[in-house]
């Protein structure tokens, strides 16, 4: 908390103009189309989006986990100044799980059913810190306790199927923080869980962050999760960023029509509430212009002609919408 004060100013993760596209039978799928964001230690960034928004692919691309042949990844993903996208696979393997960790979406399938959980939690420790078996097991028990697994000494040797969904999610988190990474990316960590467990997991993630002072990137479609835990929010649609702001500002003064639509869809719609019509597009061969215009009640000709760029509306609040920037002028 002391000497790190100046280091906290630099973002731990700085993504610039990330682009990921895939080759599919129907054409080129631009899953991520120019995404930029940065996260500093001790801050939580939530990436919000629905199907086809590209939020999960963003995380996978940063960790160089995109493996489909024909996939193209471009842009920069700077971790402490080093571009992850330029590193060799060996160098990436050294970073994954050690300095940057990803908690996968589905606790049911994220753990290997054939191995005891203690071993899976300790895997990173043995790999990256070279701990011996006994030391790793002891540390794994500590980690299980830290994430709230009761009786960790005995449960360390149990198999994943002997735990509930919430417990498994905690175990996944334990494995991810084992080496105390600087950056933790969690992809929909609460989606498959019961409501009462969701709150537990969010609290756990936040308290772990306070202990480890890492940067937390949380990917979700649930605005309630965002409201609960995010410091900054980035809204994605069809592979592009449509709005980015600190949490309170986003919920207080949402500007992009999509954000507005999402918020009113999430909250009590009430009488006269008009949901966003249509559905999120699959980003293949999207025509020029704003990706949201087909569903936007305020779309104009300008929206069809040119894709809006992200422009600052206030400090730390950027929006990609022709209408918004025009008004701010």
């Amino acid at each position: 908390m002391t000497a790190l004060a100046s280091a906290e100013e630099l973002p731990l993760l700085d993504v610039k103009n990330l682009r990921v596209s895939f080759h599919t039978a129907e054409g080129r799928l631009r899953a991520v189309d120019g995404v930029s964001f940065s996260v500093r230690a001790g801050r939580v960034l939530c990436i919000v989006g629905e199907s086809g928004s590209g939020k999960s692919v963003t995380a996978q691309a940063i960790l160089r986990l995109v493996d489909a042949a024909g996939a193209q990844v471009a842009g920069q993903a700077l971790y402490r100044g080093r571009d992850l996208l330029q590193l060799s696979e060996t160098e990436m393997e050294g970073l994954r799980g050690d300095r940057i960790s990803l908690v996968f979406q589905n606790p049911m399938t994220g753990l290997n059913p054939a191995f005891p959980v203690g071993e899976q939690v300790a895997e990173g420790l043995r790999l990256h810190q070279g701990l011996g078996r006994r030391a790793a097991r002891a540390r794994a028990i500590e980690l299980l306790a830290q994430v709230g697994i009761p009786h960790p000494e005995s449960r360390c040797d149990d198999y994943p199927h002997q735990f509930s969904g919430g417990m498994r999610q905690r175990i996944l988190i334990a494995g991810a923080i084992a080496c105390e990474p600087d950056v933790l990316i969690a992809d929909e960590p609460t989606t498959a869980l019961d409501v009462s467990v969701q709150a537990q997991i969010l609290k756990l993630l936040k308290s772990l962050q306070q202990e480890l002072e890492n940067a937390l990137v949380l990917i979700t479609h649930d605005l309630g999760v965002v409201a609960a835990i995010a410091d900054d929010v980035m809204v994605m649609y069809a592979g592009r960023v449509v709005e980015q702001a600190p949490t309170e500002i986003l919920f207080d003064k949402p500007l992009h029509p999509y954000t507005l639509g999402l918020l009113s869809a999430y909250n009590d719609g009430g009488q006269g509430f008009e949901p966003i019509p249509g559905q999120p597009p699959v980003p293949i061969d999207l025509p020029p212009g704003c990706a949201f215009r087909d569903r936007c009640s305020r779309a104009t000709d300008a929206c069809a002609a040119e894709a809006p760029a992200l422009r600052a509306v206030a400090t730390a609040h950027v929006v990609a919408c022709h209408l918004v920037v025009g008004a701010a002028q």
Binding site: E50, S51, S164, G165, G166, M167, D194, V195, S196, V197, Q198, A199, Q200, L202, K203, K206, H221, D222, L223, G224, V225, V226, A227, A228, I229, A230, T247, E248, F251, G261, L262, L263, S264, A265, Y266, N267, D268, G269, F273, P275, I276, P277, Q279, P280
Partner: protein
């Protein structure tokens, strides 16, 4: 005074759960453990609870898609449990279901038109294209969808088709089992709005099952909170959501996330301690006592019945036991009015 559409008394459904090894004993899972309900025509009852609470099973038992082990079930005065297979099938014209997996609930080898037309054919009803087109129009899909296969549609479109199928007989009751949980947030809103419109237009009674208290709150007239196969609390939606009485309902509502950072920051989230116990070996006494901050010795010994605490509100908790106890306790079978 609106009439009663469905009456359920003391429904019980247990499943046998496999034994461990050769000599393990088979254990029973009491999915629905003595649930009584009364549904009035035109109302929407929201059934909310977490995994393992039995809400999906309850929904199916209400339609007799799953045979209850015991209890009584009457629709429009007719005893559903006494019907033979053929009469039960005929009865299905009055009670329908919408499922959680929209694409999966349609026959993958049939087009939309065939799926709908075939449903009509089950009851020897007219199944011409015009009927199907009309059904699609009502849920907002054009003729272009007639020739689509389920996998060629998005979740939202498929769910509309499933709703069209459920509506096609003009049923009086539709049970919806997590109908929007698998859908994107923006699509969810569309479907909920559609359901509300259809309800108004056709005066259908809904049983809306979901784990998402936010959604249930919006669409329901009354809410029933289920915990391990029993009703913990039941009452009119707005008062219940604003002021839940059962400790579990309180915890559930409080841990539901809201899209408002001022009301809902992680530091202030309340958490129910412990994990959901397995419905296979429920604890003795009140099902919730192990996780309840207000639990007393009595709660560990006795199971509280549903007490009527106010007109339209019942709670299964000793905290709310009316003080003139003896008469009230005998009313434990009757619910909701």
């Amino acid at each position: 005074m609106t009439e009663v559409l469905l009456e359920a008394r003391n429904l019980v459904k247990t499943f046998k759960v496999g034994s461990r090894g050769l000599f393990g004993r088979t254990r029973s899972l009491r999915a629905v453990d003595g649930v009584s309900l009364t549904l009035r025509r035109g109302e929407t009852l929201g059934v909310v609870g977490e995994s393992g609470c039995g809400k999906s099973t309850l929904g199916r038992v209400l339609l007799r898609l799953i045979e209850p082990d015991s209890g009584a079930l009457r629709l429009n005065g007719r005893d559903l449990l006494a019907l033979n297979a053929s009469d039960l099938r005929d009865m299905r014209r009055h009670m329908q279901m919408v499922f959680q997996d929209p694409v999966g609930s349609l026959n993958p080898r049939m087009t939309v038109e065939q799926n709908l037309a075939d449903t009509l054919r089950f009851h020897r009803l007219a199944s011409e294209r015009s009927v199907v087109i009309e059904a699609l129009r009502e849920i907002g899909l054009s003729d272009a969808y007639l020739d689509r296969y389920p996998h060629e549609m998005s979740g939202g479109q498929a769910q509309r088709v499933a709703i069209a199928r459920a509506l096609i007989f003009n049923p009086e009751l539709i049970v919806l089992d997590e109908p929007v949980s698998a859908l994107d947030v923006s699509i969810r809103a569309q479907i909920l709005k559609l359901l509300a419109e259809l309800r108004a237009r056709h005066r259908i009674t809904y049983v809306f099952i979901s784990h998402d208290i936010g959604v249930v709150r919006r669409i329901s007239d009354r809410i029933a909170v289920l915990y391990l196969g029993k009703i913990a609390e039941i009452g009119d939606a707005a008062p219940l959501a604003a002021n839940p009485l059962h400790p579990y309902s309180q915890a559930l509502l409080r841990s539901a996330l809201v899209a408002d950072p001022r009301r809902n920051r992680v530091a202030s989230l309340s958490v129910i301690e412990g994990d959901l116990p397995s419905p296979i070996d429920p604890p003795a006494g009140c099902r919730f006592h192990a996780r309840c901050v207000h639990a007393t010795d009595r709660c560990a010994r006795e199971e509280p019945p549903l007490f009527d605490v106010a007109p339209g509100r019942s709670v299964a908790c000793f905290l709310h036991e009316p003080t003139d106890a003896p008469q009230e306790q005998t009313r434990k079978e009757l619910v909701g009015s």
